[in-house]
Amino acid sequence: MTDRLPVMKTYKLFIGGAFPRSESGRVVEVEGANVALASRKDVRDAVKAARGAFPGWAKATAYNRGQVLYRLAELMEARAGDLAATCSGPDEVARAVDRVVWYAGWTDKLAQVVGGANPVAGPYFDFTVPEPTGVVGIVAPAEPALLGLISRLAPALAGGNVVVALASQLHPLAAVELAECIATADVPAGVVNILTGDPAETAPWLASHMDVNAIDISGAVAAPGGDPAFATALERAAADNVKRVVRGPADGQRLADVEQLLELKTVWHPIGV
């Protein structure tokens, strides 16, 4: 039995905590592996899963969200070898893990830093608290394969948003490998959904979807050899329900990336009456 046939892996989608094939049944060969080619109906299903998961993740305590993100870092560390094989190497994995930990640390500090108590001229205690924007669509940067997705995903999650991410078309394996870490990291099902395939096909449906509250078009803007008209088309489609359109670096960590996916709620509380 020395000549056993190894079990080949088909890289599937990640929707609602499960790993389904594309509803369309399509696959493409990328980087020597069969990868699911998501359709617009997969986008629809992923948004539905995300919407269902949003109330729970938004209401989770900041401390709990930080713990879950830290646990994700633990699992990425444990699977560093698998992850390194799908991206540029161990150095990129190490930086991706560190980035998750960096954002994990932010979860319970956002309210103090972004929100605050406001001095007002009246008998009110006036304060501002940040709340997550909602369902966030992410067109992941084409490169770096792992770090690009993590750099866009982690800030959205830290703020309490739920995500439907369209993985890099050129390097989708890192995204699916990451999904396998997420699935075992106590991230509630549906909080992160990852679709592989051609963003040119799926991103317009995500951008025009009325149940998506924000779209991060970093990947469309920064696509190598990319079409600037693509990003413009996404922005236009996103205008239908006045989505937030955000963008950020493919490799960077900034509080601003968390802030741009937060809504500020200001409360005027009567006192002394």
Partner: protein, 309 residues
């Protein structure tokens, strides 16, 4: 008052089909097969339009208020505020105390008022009280009465009591249509569902209805198929057309289309009208509206932009 003798022999004059028994495996296979039909484009738009025209928009909560019922009636008349081409629902279904509110709001709109009655949802009250309740709702102006059968009597074999009660209720309904709710989840199987369907039709039901929506389980496709086949058998034997109402658990436009396909395939086009087919639902309407918007705009929709009722 007609009474049934022991066993289950229906009055000979009605010449009803024999009760027989149901092939559960074939029934479920047929229902699953029909549910797999792909309905797209114009056919889908037609089906969604029909689903709205056949819908009994329902609110049956302890917390129902005149304000909530008025809002629901307004939605039944004009389901889509942005699009007048979307048709009105067939009826609004409420508890007896809210019938006057619904009657006042729906007058002249063509949308009917349906009221549940006969100690809904359990049906475990004395017959005299149930009949009195039906008299009251009819006097208050209900166009349709949704009664429940006495499952306690049915399950203990007292079919005569169930039959007599339906007959008594039908008598006091007058011009109002009578829908008989079998509460299929509590009957314990397809044989019993078929038996109860035939019993209700023999007793004079204008419609037979699956569920109250208050039991642990509600309408399913095989259950509707079982009831539709009973309706078809009665029509074949007597020429009488009895209506069907599926209710409970129908929440998505996709499900609604599957139920309609089944009616079309089992009873034919003649039944695809609000006079003979109804879908009882509360949250279904918004999903159908979302589907219509998606078809029209080419964008997936969000519940954020539809009324929360």
């Amino acid at each position: 008052m007609p009474a049934l003798p022991g066993g289950f022999e229906l009055p000979a004059s009605l010449r009803l089909t024999r009760v027989g028994s149901v092939d559960a495996v074939a029934l479920e296979a047929r229902a699953a097969d029909l549910a797999g039909r792909s309905i797209k484009k114009e056919s889908k738009l037609l089906a969604l339009d029909l689903a709205i025209r056949c819908m009994d928009l329902t609110t049956l909560e302890g917390a129902d208020t005149p304000g909530k019922v008025t809002a629901l009636c307004t939605k039944a008349i004009r389901p889509d505020a942005q699009d007048a081409s979307v048709p009105s629902c067939a009826a609004v279904c409420v508890y007896p105390n809210l019938v006057p509110t619904a009657v006042a709001r729906l007058r002249g709109s063509g949308v009917k008022v349906a009221s549940v009655a006969t100690a809904f949802p359990s049906g475990q009250s004395p017959t005299a009280i149930k009949v009195r309740e039906v008299e009251e709702v009819v006097a208050m102006g209900a166009d349709e009465v949704d009664m429940v059968i006495d499952r306690g009597a049915f399950l203990s074999g007292r079919y005569g009591k169930v039959y007599d009660e339906i007959v008594a209720v039908k008598e006091v309904c007058g011009a109002a249509h009578l829908k008989v709710i079998l509460e299929t989840a509590e009957l314990g199987g397809y044989d019993a569902i078929r038996r109860a369907s035939l019993l209700a039709m023999a007793a004079g039901a204008d419609f037979i209805k699956t569920s109250t929506g208050k039991a642990a389980a509600s309408a399913t496709l095989p259950i509707q198929l079982c009831m539709l086949e009973a309706i078809r058998d009665v029509h074949d034997a007597t020429g009488r057309r009895v209506g069907m109402k599926a209710a409970g658990g129908i929440r998505t436009a996709k499900q609604a289309v599957q139920y309609l396909v089944q009616v079309h395939e089992t009873l034919g086009l003649a039944w695809l009208t609000p006079d003979l087919y109804r879908l009882g639902a509360s949250s279904l309407l918004n999903d159908v509206l979302m589907q219509l918007h998606t078809q029209r705009t080419g964008r997936y929709q969000s519940l954020d932009y539809f009324t929360n009722d």
